[in-house]
């Protein structure tokens, strides 16, 4: 144990000396958190829209007003002629074009079905799908309001019964998307920094030849690895603290649950991320290789963790694959604790999964790390 101290001390001295690296190590998570918080989203805003209102009645203008007030659409242009619309797409001036047909109000008043045409630039298919959903929702609301009004008018006259949902939202009353995303970003950053730094740290010593010098010393494998990894674990906790502080101060994310619980789970989770870093460094020969391998794994972990792509919508076979992703569990834990204040009894299985993964990956990686050369 005495020897571990010296490795840790050396590691910190090196980190401290390497100014550019130190700056990047702290800048990278902060910049990413600041950018990702605004960028990573399954919300689409300011959709450039052109409106072709052929009806031009109070009712049609009401519909256009709803579109504008939704906050999702940036209605930039009004076009009188339908035939002019395609050029908006060709020039990239608009993504959505909405055509309200002539006699729209009249048809509705006569209870005659009517059609609204939605033209879209489908290049960004994700945004298009989401925008389509928004328009659908706005139309539904438009209809509901109209019908409710109508029914209320008839209520005294006719025998009308209306089932109306009374909605109450728990935990995130304002439905703020950042409350959901920002904790996820903190998880992603923790994963990225710890796995990348631990992967490159050992490979660097191998590349520079200092690893050989360590291997001829009477130091046990576990002493060497623990000594190398503890500073990275500490770094992980620094990143985590920084991330949580930024979430709280900058993004104003409420933290309902217990931070001690987050710390406990982070500790469990670090075995997985450091284990992955160790695994990579046991197989990579150069830092570049290590970085590539880690990057590759991170993309997988990110897409398969429910970070911004919901797991529930994936095909079943791929959903099973996500169970092999430790980030999935930790992502859930952090969000549940942050937003809902979940406690250990609700996160029991996640804890066990992280424990199994952490010890499994860590043991496997340690075994792969040979003290002798090949």
């Amino acid at each position: 144990m005495h020897r571990i101290k010296y490795i840790i001390q050396k590691e910190f001295r090196q980190i401290r000396r390497d100014r550019p690296m130190l700056i990047i190590l702290f800048l990278l998570p902060i910049v990413q958190l600041l950018i990702l918080g605004y960028v990573v989203s399954s919300e689409v805003k300011n959709i450039r829209t052109v409106i072709c209102d052929l009806d031009n009645t109070p009712l049609s203008r009401d519909l256009v007003g709803r579109l504008i007030n939704s906050g999702y659409f940036d209605v930039k242009y009004f076009e009188a002629s339908e035939s002019q619309l395609p050029q908006y797409f060709d020039l990239g001036k608009a993504m959505v074009a909405l055509v309200i047909p002539r006699h729209f109000a009249r048809d509705l008043a006569r209870n005659k079905p009517t059609q609204i045409q939605v033209l879209m630039d489908g290049q960004d298919s994700n945004s298009a799908v989401i925008a389509m959903g928004y328009i659908g929702g706005i139309l539904e609301n438009f209809l509901t309001d109209r019908l409710t009004r109508q029914m209320a008018e008839y209520a005294g006259v006719l025998d009308i019964h209306l089932v109306t949902p009374v909605i109450r939202v728990w935990y995130n009353e304002d439905l703020k998307y950042s409350n959901f995303m920002v904790p996820g970003i903190v998880v992603f950053l923790l994963t990225m920094v710890t796995s990348l730094v631990s992967a490159m740290g050992l490979v660097r010593e191998r590349e520079l030849g200092t690893l050989e010098q360590l291997l001829v010393a009477p130091i046990k494998k576990h002493e060497l690895l623990i000594g190398k990894l503890i500073p990275f674990a500490i770094l992980g906790f620094v990143v985590l603290t920084l991330g949580i502080a930024l979430a709280k101060v900058w993004y104003d994310i409420p933290i309902v649950g217990n931070l001690g619980l987050i710390a406990l789970f982070s500790f469990l989770y670090l075995f997985s991320t450091l284990g992955i870093g160790l695994f990579v460094s046991a197989s990579a020969r150069t830092q570049q290789q290590a970085m590539f391998m880690t990057f590759f794994l991170l993309v997988f972990f990110m897409l398969m963790s429910g970070f911004f792509v919901p797991i529930e919508n994936m095909p079943e076979s791929i959903q099973y694959v996500t169970y092999l992703n430790p980030m999935r569990y930790f992502m859930l834990v952090v969000r549940e604790v942050f937003i809902k204040g979940a406690n250990l009894s609700h996160l029991y299985w996640q804890g066990i999964a992280l424990l199994i993964f952490g010890s499994g990956i860590f043991t496997f990686a340690t075994m792969r790390f040979q003290k002798r050369m090949k």
Partner: protein, 246 residues
């Protein structure tokens, strides 16, 4: 080697072999190194010197043959071996971004010296090597000759019984090389066995005994003087050339 029973051996090697795929890097070599001896391994690049040293230090497993360092089996007791050896490789494996003092503290630390001993050892060894004035400098900023002395100091902080030096003087000027060898003589006088590989012929002359290696095989072993007489040559270089040409 008239009286093998009386001489305690630091290194005993019998028919040691190491292959990399179909390439035989070390080919059934057999030799002993006595306690306190300066034993040289002379050979061209790729003769198998470094591979041999790595096997003896426990960095590499042999393909076949036997080997003992300080009485410990190189197959099974590499942990005990590591406790008793010092090692310095051809590229100085120091942390360039640590201070000289920090490198010393680190290597002393991982060899398990307690704080008190560590401080004392560093004190005495920087006195002996003249590293004192560089103690608070970044390792990357000191001249190569000093780096080499620092690497040697790091390798002997824990007072190993045997010191393995793998081409320790590569890229170092003759004066530094000379100073380096006086340090090695001092060590040997105090009873440390020194096992050194080199391809500098004049360095070979400094050794008590010499093994000339070529293509993974030991061509001959003996004291430099004995070898010169045996092959009727005036320098080790000529002995070497004659042996290699055969």
């Amino acid at each position: 080697m008239n009286n093998p029973v009386q001489i305690p051996y630091s290194v005993q090697v019998e028919e040691l072999t190491r292959c990399f795929g179909s390439f035989v890097a070390v080919d059934h070599i057999t030799f002993n190194v006595a306690d306190g001896e300066i034993f040289g391994f002379l050979g061209a690049n790729g003769a198998g010197k470094t591979t041999t040293i790595k096997m003896l230090c426990g960095l590499l497993l042999p393909t076949s043959g036997k080997g003992f360092v300080e009485g410990f089996n190189i197959y099974t007791q590499s942990d005990q071996i590591k406790q008793n050896i010092g090692y310095m490789s051809q590229k100085f494996s120091l942390y360039e971004d640590l201070l000289v003092r920090e490198n010393l503290e680190f290597y002393g630390g991982i060899y398990g010296l307690d704080n008190h001993t560590l401080r004392q050892t560093i004190e005495t060894s920087v006195m002996a090597t003249g590293l004192r004035e560089h103690l608070e400098k970044l390792t990357r900023d000191i001249p190569v000759g000093w780096k080499q002395r620092l690497a040697l100091t790091c390798a002997i902080l824990h007072k190993p019984k045997i010191l393995f030096l793998d081409e320790p003087t590569g890229g170092v000027d003759p004066i530094s090389r000379h100073q380096f060898w006086s340090l090695i003589y001092e060590l040997a006088e105090k009873g440390t066995t020194v096992f050194v590989t080199t391809h500098y012929m004049e360095e070979a002359e400094y050794c008590n005994r010499l093994s000339i290696m070529h293509n993974g095989r030991i061509m001959d072993i003996g004291a430099p003087q004995t070898l010169k007489e045996k092959y009727k040559q005036s320098t080790i270089e000529d002995v070497f050339i004659q042996l290699v040409k055969k």
